[in-house]
Structures are given as C-alpha cells and as structure tokens.
Amino acid sequence: MTTPMTPGIQSGRLSADALSRNFEDLHAPLDAHEARVAADRCYFCHDAPCMTACPTSIDIPLFIRQIQTGTPEAAAKTILSQNILGGMCARVCPTETLCEEACVREEAEGKPVIIGQLQRYATDTLMAKGVHPFTRAAPTGKSIAVVGAGPAGLSCAHRLAMKGHDVTLYDGRAKAGGLNEYGIASYKSTNDFAAREVAWLLEIGGITVETGKMLGADLTLDALKSDHDAVFLAVGLGGVNALRIEGEDQAIAAVDFIEELRQSTDLTTLPVGRNVVVIGGGMTAVDAAVQSKLLGADTVTIAYRRSRAEMAASPFEQDLAAAKGVRLMFNVMPTAIADGTITLEYTATKDGKLSGTGETVTLPADQVFKAIGQTLTTDAGLKLEGGKIAVDAAGRTSLAGVWAGGDCATGGEDLTVTAVAEGRDAAEDIHAAVMGA
C-alpha cells in the first residue's frame, strides 16, 4: 500500500476519506448566527478604510449593515453591483492585506471584522436562492468580443451585457473561469464553485461563450476587430518563467500541477512526490506546496530566494503553509536538479543585488515545482510595458478599439479582485466609446 513514505511520485498516498477531509473548505461558511455576531462588530465607519482598500470599492459598511438587519440578499446586491465575482473574491481575496488589514478593528484590537467571510455569507445566500439580481438594458445592437473568460473577462462581459451589448466571450480552454477554474487552490473553491459562479453570471443573458478559441491560434485580433465593435483582451499569463538551471526539464510548472488537481475527479489517482520542493515565493508557490502536503507528500519545502519579509505570499498564506506542515526556506536559490535531489545555494543581498554565497545544501526532491512567475504568451501586436500589454487607466491599449485588463495588462496587482475591477471599468469605457460620440 502506498503511504507518504513511498519513494518516487505516487498516487494514493492517503485514503479517499483523508483526502476529502484535507480538501474541505479552508473556512467553513458562516451560518446565520455566526454572520450576525460577526456583522455586529462593524462600526459603519465614515469613508471606510476597508472600502478604500478594496480594488473593486465594495461598500463594505453598507453590506455588513444589511446583514446586521437581516437582509443578506440586499447585502449581496451591494457587493455584486461593484464586483460580479464577489462570491469568488470572498473566497480567494488576500483580505488580510486588503479590506481586513484596513479595518479599524484591526487598529483597535488586532482583530478585523471578518469581511471576506461575511461577503461569502451574503453572496452564497443570494446564489443559493437562484437569484440573478441584474437585468439587461435595451439591446444596443453593438457586439463586443471579450477574449479570455477569467475574472477580468467575465467581469467585463457581464457589465457589457448589462448595458445591452451582445458579447462573445472566447476562451482557449475547455471551460470558462480562467484561474478561478484552473488556478486556485482547491480548498478555496470547493464544490465546483467556479463553474457554478460562471453559470450564475451568465444568467444575465446576452453572452455567448466560445471555448477552445485561443488568441494567436484560433483567433486573430484583426478578425476580432472587424467582426465586433470593440475587443477586450483578458488572456492572462499563459507562460511560466524558467529556472534556467541544470535539470530544468525535471521541474514541473506549479500552475500545471494546480490545474491538474483542480480538474481531477478522483484525488486518489493524482500522483505526488514523497519529497516535494517548490521554487518561488508567491501565492502559486503556497497553493502548490500546501496541496502537495494535503495529497500526502511526506516533506514539502518552499524554497524562496529572498527573505520572509519580501515574500509575495501574505503572512496569512505563509502561516497556512507552515500550519499544514510545509517547511519555508528563505534566501536559497536552486542551482541543479538531479537524481531525485535539488541543490540550493544560499543567497545574500549586497548593494541591493541578490547573489549566491557559494554555500549549498542538497535536499531530496522527487518532485520539483517552479512557481517563479508567469508570462504573456501573445502580444497580439500591441505595445507592451514590463512584459504586459500597456493600458491606460480606462484599459485602452495602444490600438484603437482594443482594451485589455487582468493579469495580461499593466496596472494593479495580479489578483482576482483587481482583474474584476479592471474588466468592469474597461466595460464602462467600452460602453461610453461605442455608444458615445
């Protein structure tokens, strides 16, 4: 029988029961009583710092007050009118560095109002009732292409549909949802939530989804431009940065592992190494490492080349990893992968430049994941900036009639919530452009 100690990359290290427990909701949903108790802690601040900290500017004090007064459906409408993916954001937002960090209760007691969980309570309540609270405006006769059905694309498509436009939503993969569907740790989006949310979002009507259509392969920007009144690109970052070390071919992209896990229907068949090493320091590194551990890997190490303070993953994510038994190593960079081991060299920063100290350590590593950032796979002939499609504040690219947002475009952090905001705001600008002057 396979156990965590079984050498090599193996499936079935844990029983089906243990796996199903391990991949339960990270935070169990609040029940009505818990929500009322949590909501009562909100002070209904003036010009609330939490709202300012939210990239989609959800009116948090208002929605929490609506929960307090027994109207979670009204709360959900407050949330969704600003952020149509409020349900997913409630699950995946790093609230500890956004709204909850800004909460005055954090300043007062070091314990913010649990805004994320309250948002989930409200949006779940509405979605459980099968209500889609928005309706379309009169048809405009305009047709808009949205390329990429991730958070930015979905948000843009919904807002455009609401304005009465006809939207064609293209995506290269088999399912819509983007990173919500393929790229987020599974314990943050249980019970197929990403797909259910997409289905619910599409209830607005006026959005035609065309999957299996990849920009650069199946679609060209020229054709899209000529077939539609405007184009919004939200193609994400499809490439993965290379380690550029000996044995690179033995390293797997963490995003691929996460995707395989998310799409798996039977986790007992999903193989994982006995000794896993994840290279990187962001959310993807943590998601891959924690899930490796939850799958039954015996040891899992995150190796990050800078210090803990510089780690992109939030302290909450770091603690989550540590609590699940992941070892966090700092100031180490990989130099070679070979024969089930990885060699790491210690690093130091001198004059602002990171370099190896010469001292190395070799760890057993049946499986190495690289999670050191993703790259744009197609520029579609647009002006780039720092490896991303250059856009202005309204999401306009260098080409008239083409907008872009989400991870593929400049501006904001690469977060679901930021992508939603960019998609929504681009939709408003597209609407003004196609209807206006």
């Binding site: 009322r36 009562d40 601040c45 003036h46 010009d47 710092p49 005055v104 007062a108």
Partner: protein, 433 residues
C-alpha cells in the same frame, strides 16, 4: 472590603440588591435560589385577593429589543400578578422568611380598591413574618382594566386612600410602588407620603410595544394574532427611572421620603447611580431574568470595590450625594465652556465622530490627511455627540475652558457663573441685584 449592609425602613439586608416583584420571585423555589446566590432581599411577586387566582396567557408573555450581539436591552411583559393560590404563597413566604431571617422579604400586594379587600388580606400577610409590604400601583396591563395596578397609581387620591388603609391594618413598613405612566411622578409620590407611606419604589414598567411581527402584522408578543401593550423594563428604561427617582428625591414636598430605585439596574454602577440620586436601595429584575441570579455577585463585588476606592464605609455615605446636583435647566451655568478633544493615539480612525458632527451637528471636526480627526474649537459647541458615538472610551474627552480664557467660537472670554434667569435674551430675566 466595604460593608454593604443596608438599612431601609429599619429593614436590614446584607446588601442593597433586592429582587423586584416579578416572575423571579413568584415562588419559594426561586426565592430560595436567589437568597443562596446572595441577593440581599426579595419583593415577593404580587399577591391578589383570596379566591380563584388570575389566569395568564399561555402564549408568549415577553417581548424584547436587542443591541449588538443580541444583547438584551429592553424587555416587556404581559404577565399578570401571581397565578397561584393565595394560601400557597403565604405558606411559602412564612417558611422562607423563617429560614432566611437576615434577608429582607417584602410582600407585594394588589387587591381591589375597597377597604374590605385590604382589611382582609393584610392580617394574613402580617402573619407570615415578612418585613413589609409593597403596594403594586403600577402594573400597566390586565390588572389595570380591573381597576387595580396602574388604574390606582394614576389617581393620587386613590394612592393616598389605599396607603391609609394599609397603615391602618398593617403594622410594618408600607412601600408604595409607582407607575411611570403618568405626566408628573411627583404627584403620586406626594399622595403616597400623605397617606403615610414609609417609602416609594419606582419605577414599575412602562406601557410599550416592543416590536411588530411584519408577517402577522401584529404587536409582539403575539397571542393568537393579537397583541397588547406590555410593561417595559430593562437597561433601556434606566434613564427614565433615574429621572423620576431624582424628581422625587429633590421635591421639597417629598424630600427625605425613602426611595427604592427600580428600572434597568444591571450592574453595580447602575445601582450606585440610583443610590447617588437618592435611592436607599435598588430592586432588580431584568438583569436576573437575562443572566440568572448569579449577576448579583458582580453587583456586590463591584459596589464594594468602588466604595473602597472612594473611601465610603457604608451605603449611607453616598445615598443621595448626587441629589443636590440635580437642578433645573434654567440654573445651569451658561458661561461654562468645554471643547471636545480627540486623542490621536487612542483614535482608531473610524470617522464616526466626523460624520456625526458634519452631517448632524456643527461641522466642528476636521478630517485631515491620513484620517486624522481634529476638533475645530471655533465651531465646537461642546455638544458631546462625538464622545457618545466614538467606539473607544475616553478617546474623545470634553476639556473645560478655564475662566478668563477665550472661547474661539463666541469670541468671548469665559465669565463667572451666570444662568438663564439673568440672561439678557430671557424676556423674563430678573436684573441681578
């Protein structure tokens, strides 16, 4: 530790915390538990005349309002006086008093407004050995419709008459419990005194509808689709009760008449406040009904700590100490000036002071870069709203402007005491001699 022994009308109890006449004091079982928990005294739930007892509803008797986290702030009830036979109650009272001689035991009474009814019940009560009686002239529902309770308490002449009968047929102290459902509490208190009452206790409950069931479209508690006004009590009524206590305490016609303070006493501090305003002791009900009899332990320890801290060795040391400072508005010093001051270190930046002042008051708080809130003394009228809405205690304080200092708002220096009676804007001002 301060001695909390309190003498009220010659009745000594180990502390000033009595349970008010109400459901918690309806029977021997509860009263014994209360004494065991430490209550200094008990006013037994109101007894009625001999004969078939009253009948209560069998649907909900209580309605409530809540604060944050469903903390109960106000309770109302439509329960009547005891629904157990008179003899049962009298026997239990006798037994309990015998077993707890050091605790106060008062019997609350409500019988029809005729001399014979009182003449009949009082000797039976006297026989129990209880320390005194309390006349329930306050119950606002059910009994009032039968000419008792508040129906008596709202007519000072009846109060006086019944009190006189009680003093005639009963040898021990007579406390008259007053209803707040009147326009001027001083009149019934004066009537009680005129009738020979040894003390008044107040307040009884306030006419109220706590909530409406929006599906049934009926007041709550709802009995078969209908509701009626109930008697309101709990923390929410404390300000109303304290004002009435103070009115009686400072009324020259009733000054010195002992008062048992009732209305929302929940903590030691509430008790200390009632007593500072002139109550010789306090009676508690809702706090016990919310948290159980154990709450008295906090009241005892808290009052004792506070007395030690202040150097009071007996409750008599502070009873009525705040009464002389209760005055009429016209005697307030119109030259007294304070200004709000916000402690930036204590501030959690919620902005509630700012928006309260900006939207609803005097635009005297400035919101500066980085959510720094500052008071503009040239606009601050010292209303105190910012203090009241701030979630952090003592973050905003009212700082007194010393005499002779300039009030930036009025452009005048703070002067000596002067009140409305001599103010130039007062058409009936008296020129200072």
């Amino acid at each position: 530790m301060a001695d909390l022994t309190t003498n009220f009308l010659g009745i000594t109890s180990p502390n000033p915390f009595w349970l008010a006449s109400a459901p918690p004091t309806d029977k021997e079982y509860n009263v014994r538990r209360a004494y065991e928990a430490g209550w200094g005294g008990v006013v037994w739930k109101t007894l009625g005349s001999e004969g078939p007892p009253v009948v209560n509803v069998s649907g909900p008797r209580y309605g409530a309002i809540w604060g944050a986290d469903r903390r109960l702030l106000g309770l109302n009830n439509i329960e009547l006086i005891t629904d157990r036979p008179l003899q049962t109650n009298l026997e239990e009272i006798t037994r309990v008093k015998k077993d707890y001689p050091d605790r106060a035991l008062i019997v609350s009474l409500m019988v029809p407004c005729d001399e014979d009814s009182w003449k009949a019940i009082l000797p039976m009560v006297e026989e129990t050995g209880a320390d005194g009686i309390e006349l329930n002239f306050g119950c606002p529902h059910g009994m009032a419709e039968r000419g008792m309770g508040a129906a008596v308490g709202q007519v000072p002449e009846y109060i006086q008459m019944v009190t006189e009968w009680c003093k005639k047929y009963y040898s021990k102290p007579v406390i008259v419990k007053l209803t707040p459902n009147i326009t001027d509490i001083r009149n019934p208190a004066r009537a009680a005194k005129a009738g020979g009452a040894d003390a008044v206790s107040l307040i009884n409950t306030i006419n109220s509808i706590t909530s409406v069931d929006l599906d049934l479209m009926a007041p709550q508690p709802t009995i078969g689709g209908k509701g009626t006004h109930g008697g309101y009590c709990g923390p929410a009524v404390k300000p109303i009760a304290m004002n009435m206590v103070a009115e009686i305490a400072r009324d020259p016609q009733t000054a010195g008449l002992p008062i048992s303070g009732i209305g929302g006493v929940t903590t030691w501090r509430d008790a200390a406040e009632f007593m500072a305003l002139g109550a010789g002791n306090v009676q508690v009900c809702t706090a016990a009904m919310t948290y159980g009899f154990k709450v008295v332990q906090e009241m005892i320890s808290g009052l004792s700590e506070w007395m030690d801290d202040k150097g009071y060795t007996s409750t008599a040391d502070f009873i009525g100490k705040a009464t002389p400072n209760v005055t009429d508005w016209q005697y307030l010093d119109l030259n007294y000036v304070t200004k709000a001051k916000i402690d930036p270190d204590a501030c959690i930046k919620c902005g509630r002071c700012y928006i309260a002042c900006e939207d609803t008051s005097h635009q005297a708080i400035l919101m500066k870069e980085g959510r720094v809130f500052e008071v503009d003394d040239s606009e601050c009228v010292a209303c105190n709203l910012c203090v009241d809405v701030c979630p952090v205690e003592d973050c905003i304080t009212m700082v007194e402007l010393p005499k002779g200092e300039l009030d930036e708002r009025t452009g005048r220096k703070r002067g000596d005491y002067a009140n409305w009676t001599t103010h130039p804007n007062n058409p009936s001002a008296q020129a200072a001699e």
